[in-house]
């Protein structure tokens, strides 16, 4: 994406000029200007200064990638400024340090007065007291009023466990309520849109959701209706909140007001194992956190990576995980008997059969279809095997609609990996017609299809039956696996480790979140075995070693190391 969108603001560096302030009595130099949510330089705020000093300031409405609203008041911080004498000179203490005037209520000089840290710029010599007793007292008061109408229904609230209100109540709240009147009851289970349910009683009116959809997505659908205690978030009358980014508001919501219909009442968040991974729905490669429990994936949430997806991801990609746990997953290695039936077999037998056949095959009679949904390492191994047996190779391009934010038109997560390893040329899919023609005429007698359905790619089903050997490595059954001589069950990317190279050339690695079903093995594992059986070098046994081998062989990846990729990846030039 060439033009920066509000989703991915330009990554402006903070100004070089610094200001010295004191946070909790410690001197710290902070940049005078810091980028705001649009990447424009703005005067540094007290909250940013505290963050730079490593002191946490609780907040609900503030979010670094949203316009500042300053309405939750939770970030109130007591502060002081250097005292000025009538001569416009700083007043000094006896030891020569500037005298500090703590901010107080103008009509009640004994009472400290806080400022909202998210919207108050700092000035030179300012002192911030984010841990003082007065600050604490202000937070307690704010929290108490936020909780006036909040229902205490954490047991049935999906946010419990990752709820800011819950956390700050534990830190700053009181054990009992002083509120004796009847609580205001607001609408519950409001159907905002196809993917979102709103519970107005739980809302703390931080307006993060309103700002996100109005200012970032540009789909202004949410607002606050009614007055005072009856303030309520609602969709504008007659409209539904249904753009492709609605589920980000669920992540943004600091409490359990907005919940995802997909994840609602599915699993408590404290049971979820969180694995850093990547969304494989399109070539953007949004960073995600996979929440799984006991080998069942329950949700994907975006993981912050300013070079790829910021804090966000699209609803379509977020909900595209259920196929991983489908019951009809390929879970058995199968080999076709001479009688024509597929029979369950073992990896050793199946790979032996493939290797034996490939050793006999003449150059040019073998075709490899390598899906660009495989990892870069697997594509690299397929390329090595292809070179060894003299195969024609290609991948199947997948084009769809993109948008200006995160959705990419290329629906393959790793076409750039296929390009880098040489599986495809500059124009992916250019060899496909030749391969299909070869299959039809009988020039190609052996086909290895990994992760792609040849029938869907345009090859007539009956011509597949004429092949001497059709090896199908896939995850879900399709027309090709039904006709294959050897079926090798593979892993979804959430079940293995590896790397993808996204549309912008960012090499990103992902980790294994859940176990693969049955006999299924990661493709790179059995491809390594196959490569060895074909006379390849004994090589590495683990993904790290494989990656380093690939980095030595593939010029685009030269010098990369597995451990250096980190969780957010490294950009290379394709």
């Amino acid at each position: 994406m060439s033009t920066p969108t509000p989703f991915l603001p330009p990554q402006t560096a903070p100004s070089a000029e610094t200001i010295r302030v004191k946070v909790d009595g410690r001197d710290i130099d902070v940049p005078k200007m810091m980028p705001d949510w649009q990447g424009k330089l703005q005067p540094t705020t007290m909250l940013q200064a505290c963050q730079l000093a490593g002191v946490e300031v609780p907040h609900y409405c503030y979010h670094s990638k949203l316009p500042v609203a300053g309405n939750c008041r939770m970030c109130l911080v007591e502060f002081g400024t250097p005292m000025m004498g009538p001569d416009r000179k700083p007043v000094l203490n006896e030891d020569g340090t500037p005298k500090i005037a703590r901010s107080v209520l103008p009509y009640e000089p004994g009472t400290p007065r806080g400022a909202i840290a998210c919207a108050t710029p700092i000035s030179p010599g300012m002192e911030l007291y984010p841990s003082s007793a007065a600050t604490r007292q202000m937070r307690e008061a704010v929290l108490e009023s936020l909780l006036i109408n909040h229902p205490l229904d954490c047991p049935i609230c999906d946010q419990a466990g990752e709820c800011k209100l819950q956390e700050y109540s534990v830190q700053h709240g009181q054990a009992t309520t002083r509120f004796v009147e009847t609580k205001v009851h607001k609408p519950k289970v409001v159907d905002l849109g196809p993917r979102i349910v709103l519970d107005d009683e739980r809302c703390v009116l931080c307006t993060r959701c309103i700002r996100f959809t109005r200012d970032l997505v540009g789909d202004d659908k949410l607002g606050i209706v009614n007055r005072g205690s009856y303030n309520t978030i609602a969709a504008f009358p007659g409209t539904r909140f249904e753009n492709n980014y609605t589920l980000n508001t669920v992540d943004l919501c600091p409490v359990g007001a907005l919940t995802s219909k997909d994840f609602r009442f599915q699993m408590r968040v404290w049971f979820l194992k969180e694995t850093p991974s990547i969304c494989a729905t399109c070539a953007t490669g949004c960073n995600v956190t996979v929440g799984s429990r006991e080998e069942v994936i329950h949700r994907l949430t975006p993981r912050e990576n300013d070079a790829v997806n910021g804090h966000w991801m699209c609803d379509h990609g977020r909900l595209n995980y259920r196929w991983v746990g489908r019951s009809d997953r390929l879970a058995e290695v199968q080999v076709r008997l001479s009688s024509g039936d597929l029979q369950r077999s073992s990896w050793t037998v199946a790979l032996d059969r493939v290797a034996q056949h490939l050793r006999k095959a003449t150059a040019g009679s073998v075709a490899i279809i390598a899906s660009a949904r495989l990892t870069t390492e697997e594509l690299f191994l397929l390329r090595q095997i292809g070179v060894r047996v003299g195969a024609i190779m290609d991948s199947v391009p997948r084009r769809g609609e993109g948008d200006a934010y995160l959705v990419h038109a290329d629906k393959n997560p790793n076409m750039n990996g296929a390009r880098a390893t040489g599986v495809v040329g500059a124009e992916p899919g250019s060899q496909l017609p030749r391969i299909i023609e070869g299959i039809r005429t009988g020039a190609i007698r052996t086909v290895l299809a990994f992760g792609e359905d040849l029938v869907k790619a345009g090859c007539p089903a009956e011509s597949l039956g004429r092949l001497e050997m059709l090896v199908a490595g896939d995850i879900l059954p399709n027309a090709t696996t039904a006709r294959a001589h050897v079926v090798l069950p593979g892993c979804a990317h959430l079940e293995k480790r590896g790397t993808f190279i996204n549309a912008k050339g960012r090499v990103q690695r992902f980790r294994k979140a859940v176990e693969a079903p049955g006999d299924a093995r990661p493709e790179w594992e059995y491809l390594l075995d196959l490569h060895r059986a074909l006379g390849g070098p004994s090589g590495p046994d683990n993904i790290e070693g494989l990656f380093h081998w690939m980095a030595r062989e593939v010029p685009v990846l030269a010098g990369l190391e597995w451990s250096r990729l980190g969780d957010t990846g490294v950009t290379v030039t394709i």
């Binding site: 229904d153 049935i156 009847t182 607001k186 309520t232 219909k261 009442f265 599915q266 049971f271």
Partner: protein, 191 residues
């Protein structure tokens, strides 16, 4: 402070006084049981287990069961805190999910699709009862659990509710609903 040990005498090093004392104690009990006919169960309960039923004292921690409220509705809201706290992982709750069956009482948004306790795993520690925010699970008086197979000892929701009976505690959700209905500021929707 370090307390230095008393040096042992030769006899003590050969454990002789300990043996003599051990014999004294065991003989005393042996004599009392055999010649005076006094047994612990006989003294306290007046007989032995199958004939004289064991009296379950208040506070005894027997098998944990689910309870219903006064109107016969499931109290559990599937918060899974008991599943989380259970040290031997005996509790297994299947949450209702987005399109699951709604709670059988008004205003509570959910109840578990299934609630299983593996009584073979349960150690009767009572942490589930302690952690439950809804007063929905209680360790009751059943101390004699047996079954013909392992599967049989995994009690499901229906069985736990049937065994648990009714509990006369506060009905939090009912009160909230009544409160909300009284306000009429917003139309009250009951799921």
């Amino acid at each position: 402070m370090i307390v230095s040990r008393k040096p042992l005498s030769l006899a003590e090093r050969f454990y002789l006084p300990a043996v003599a004392n051990g014999f004294k104690v065991t003989w005393r009990h042996f004599r009392r049981t055999v010649f005076e006919g006094k047994t612990a169960a006989g003294e306290t309960a007046g007989g032995f287990h199958p004939e004289v039923p064991w009296k379950v004292e208040p506070g005894y921690r027997g098998a944990p069961y689910l309870v219903r409220d006064q109107e016969g509705h499931t109290k559990c809201v599937s918060c899974q805190l008991c599943e989380f706290i259970c040290p031997p992982k005996a509790i297994r709750i299947t949450p209702p999910g987005p399109d699951g069956q709604a709670a059988d009482r008004k205003n509570a948004e959910k109840m578990p699709r299934d609630f299983e306790i593996n009584m073979l795993r349960c150690i009767f520690c009572g942490l589930c009862q302690e952690v439950c925010p809804e007063e929905a699970i209680f360790l009751q008086k059943d101390y004699s659990l047996s079954g013909g197979s392992r599967e049989e000892m995994i009690y499901n929701k229906e069985r736990l509710l049937a065994l648990g009976g009714t509990h006369s505690g506060t009905q939090k959700w009912k009160h909230k609903l009544e409160e909300a209905k009284a306000q009429e500021a917003f139309p009250v929707k009951t799921p």
